[in-house]
Symmetry: D2
Subunit: 304 residues, 4 copies
């Protein structure tokens, strides 16, 4: 484990932008990378669940990855979601990520994987593809519940030190994992809804797609500075938006709409069956912005 | 449907109090009923999922129900959770509830019920037991995902007009149900985490165990008065506590601890494997109370 | 572990008989116990999943249990299904079973139990109720997938030596468990559909509700005598009936119908929503009996 | 619906062969197509669940598909499994299948798709890609349970007439579907374990990967000729092999091993974590062949 790099801090999970015709929109991706740099995040994660990887063709996936790596040109470390339907495809995705220059590969259990006793071996083989792994525990997306004992064994078997835990309630699970192996770096996720509690239990950061990652960063910095109460006040203030974005199914569109309002994306389209948000949801977002005193950008985001 | 009574408003789901030895604590139940009356809730729901009905013996269930009905003596309408493992036990529970004088029986699908096409018939037969039904849609607790079309058919088949929807995201599901049958009365639940959105989409109220139901009531009254912004401000303010209580697994203990701090319960014990909250969780609650300006009661709750 | 008794062989899981009006039919239970003795099974299991415990009232459960224990009067060891919705109810059921004189309590994970890391502690506490446990691994009925590592830990924590494995494919899982702890006694179940493979991998027997348990016994005796081919021929011959009975949902009614044809039950009623088998299913069973050369009993079963 | 072609009979689902190094083995695929023609199946299905599509790279998928279409050169109709993770990828896969000359696209619900009310719209849009659909109901592989009412609505919305039902017990579900829409052509699957019952309830055939499809064909022909008893005798005789192959997880390797013994494949390798069968399983298969009087081929399969 000692050789694996330590990934920590506030990582931003990049969603995939589509234009008004539903096509991949690389220009928005470029703007997003620039914005993320100014937001001072510690890393980017591309092709996470939120990137709709299952809705992208192979060519689109490659284009989107290339656009992010090109725009970043080495400024931020990048983790790539490499969760295949089976080991063979996972290994192929990790190989591609390595060639692009990724810092890590994030790998969840294959969907509906039944025999979780085999997961340590699965991760051991995945690690052989040559990138540090982020072991992702995401039962909502995979249908696979993984016990703490198996996660610990998977980290040991694969020589991994990084996990992302999204099996709620996340704070106690993170606590149990760290009690079992204090050297682990464990990210919280789930849109940040439990970020405060996760950081309090020793999480190394938050890796999620909340569209104001600088807020999550500010919370983390206060926790790290021992200013718990200030962290809590900040978390409380923005929780309504964090939670509104974190809703299942419709949350991704909301998140893209926030990015649109920040001048980064040009549409909030997703590749769900209902590509657009309904009027009520948009109005709720208007009102939330109003109540929180948040102001949409006047013009497209551009680096200073 | 025209004959079924309309249940609406802010209903409070009663948790089951245990004393320091883990035994049923009827005195705390009595205090809770008195408190609920002063909180001006519109009804009580007993033996919901949150009451840990699966962890009570038959005798304890009967004692707890009796204690609530006795303490209430007709002041508030009472719905009783009557979800059995199969129709026969559901009918038996409804029969018991009717004898106690319940206003309604809340019935979820049996755990892991597979053939949801049979649910309309299930509810039709459940309705034959002589109480109005609250059709509860609670996939987290039952493992059963119920489509809107089946819920609508279940309401029609059983002559029911009341539902409680806890399949997130709840606001759009409530919207779809009302689009299909505008006469339905649909409660939100899930601890109130989406109460604002649910009420905005036409929910008739919130039926949940959040330990400050008067806050949910205040939000609802503002929505009903057309004061959306005020409702939103109130919701935002208390969302950190709503969400902290709504955590899976540990949320029930937190909720009981809040009731303890309000002078109503004497312990926060649950019948989960870990009966007590850990120190970190208690400290988080302390800090949350501090940040929100909430003050524990100086002495046990007593009606004025 | 050394103190726990060894349960082995062909155990028969007792279904609950209902009369034409759907009421509990104790006389059929008495006949069934007598029949099971003549079938030379090694033990009885009552209140397993197949007994429809979720569809029985508390009083019916007590009556059915009493009828079986009375009819048996000590001839066969009896295991009682004691799977409650939570530890408290499980302990209560075990206490009742112990008072009746049960030899063991069969306990599955509570429905939809999420944190399987807690199962060893769950079983440890369950064992404190004073009966040897049969640790039942039944994901179809509980929604809980349990890794081999956790099952082994549960056996150790609770001092249990007996398991019943119903997570298909069962033969390799039984092999992995015995590789981890060779002292375990592991029953197969699932209606016997994999009985041959289970016994080949070292299962101590079959515990299931197949309505001709003497066939499963004959297969086991041949395996134990090293006559694998004979065991296989016997298994092949009756597999069509084993599998027909083992169908999900409708299988229980089929099984009761076979008991009716054997002169033991008077109806095939279940407490499922569709209490009776349809005509096609009954005709399929007629044809199957015809093809296998099985003959319904001419008159009600009576001990010689 | 009148314009969609009628797919009926005994269809064979093609598994993907790998060589000793784990690489795609197109020569075995060619042999398999030739063999399937001599077995007189009514059609081929490629890239079904059994083909391990999640374990193939994009290039391997394309190569395997091309090899099958080339080897077949129009002799048999071919359905292609086109189940993507979302509509966009499903549409892309259907487009590719159409270009290859497929007769139909088999489409299951996306994994863990939650809102089944949207499935009729999903299939409506999938049908717009220009191939007749086989609506596949496969909850074990997808985690999605689909009610009969939704399946019927999906057929209507998409103008589809063909389904493949693998939600056990399949015979009554097929019966309910045909009661709702008598014009449907409904295949059974699940390795053929319920083929007899499915055909008795009106299934139009069996579409599965059982490695002796000519046996399933013979059963079907007897049912169609009104020779139920003969069909039953045949089904009973081979059920031990049908069931042995149909085991979850290890069944695919067994099936490939049978193809190896028939001279068609050169290895039984899968891309599961355990690529090879263990010795016990192979011995069980030896014994099963012995008991059933089946004889491995003396040399590689070659068309007459």
């Amino acid at each position: 484990m000692s050789e694996a790099p330590s990934l920590r801090g506030t990582w931003y999970i990049v969603p995939t932008p589509f234009d008004g015709a539903g096509e991949l929109d690389p220009a928005s991706l470029v703007r997003l990378v620039e914005a993320a740099v100014t937001w001072r995040v510690d890393g980017l994660t591309v092709m996470g669940v939120m990137a709709e990887p299952g809705a992208l063709s192979t060519g689109e996936r490659a284009s989107a990855l290339q656009a992010v790596f090109d725009a970043n040109h080495g400024r931020l470390p990048i983790a790539v979601g490499c969760s295949g339907g089976a080991l063979a495809t996972t290994l192929e995705l990790i190989g591609q990520a390595r060639e692009l220059g990724a810092s890590a590969a994030m790998v969840a259990a294959p969907p509906l994987f039944r025999n979780v006793d085999q997961l340590p071996e699965y991760y051991r083989q995945a690690a052989s593809a040559g990138l540090p792994l982020v072991i992702q525990d995401e039962p909502n997306a995979t249908g696979v519940v993984i016990p703490v004992s198996i996660l610990l064994a998977a980290a040991t078997a694969s020589g991994s030190r990084t996990m992302k835990i999204e099996d709620p309630p996340t704070p106690p699970k993170i606590g149990r994992l760290l009690a079992g192996n204090a050297e682990l770096d464990i990210f919280g996720g789930l849109g940040g809804v439990s970020a405060l509690g996760e950081l309090r239990r020793g999480a190394c950061g938050t890796m999620t797609g909340f569209a104001y990652p600088e807020i999550l960063r500010a919370i983390r910095l206060r926790i790290e500075a021992g200013k718990s109460r200030e962290a809590g006040v900040l978390f409380d203030r923005y929780l309504p938006l964090i939670q509104f974005e974190a809703q299942q199914v419709i949350g991704l569109g909301i998140r893209k709409e926030v990015l649109r309002r920040r001048g980064v994306f040009t549409t909030h389209r997703t590749r769900g069956l209902t590509a657009s948000l309904d009027g009520t949801t948009l109005q709720e977002l208007d009102e939330l912005f109003d109540r929180l005193g948040m102001v949409p950008a006047a013009e497209p985001f551009a680096p200073a």
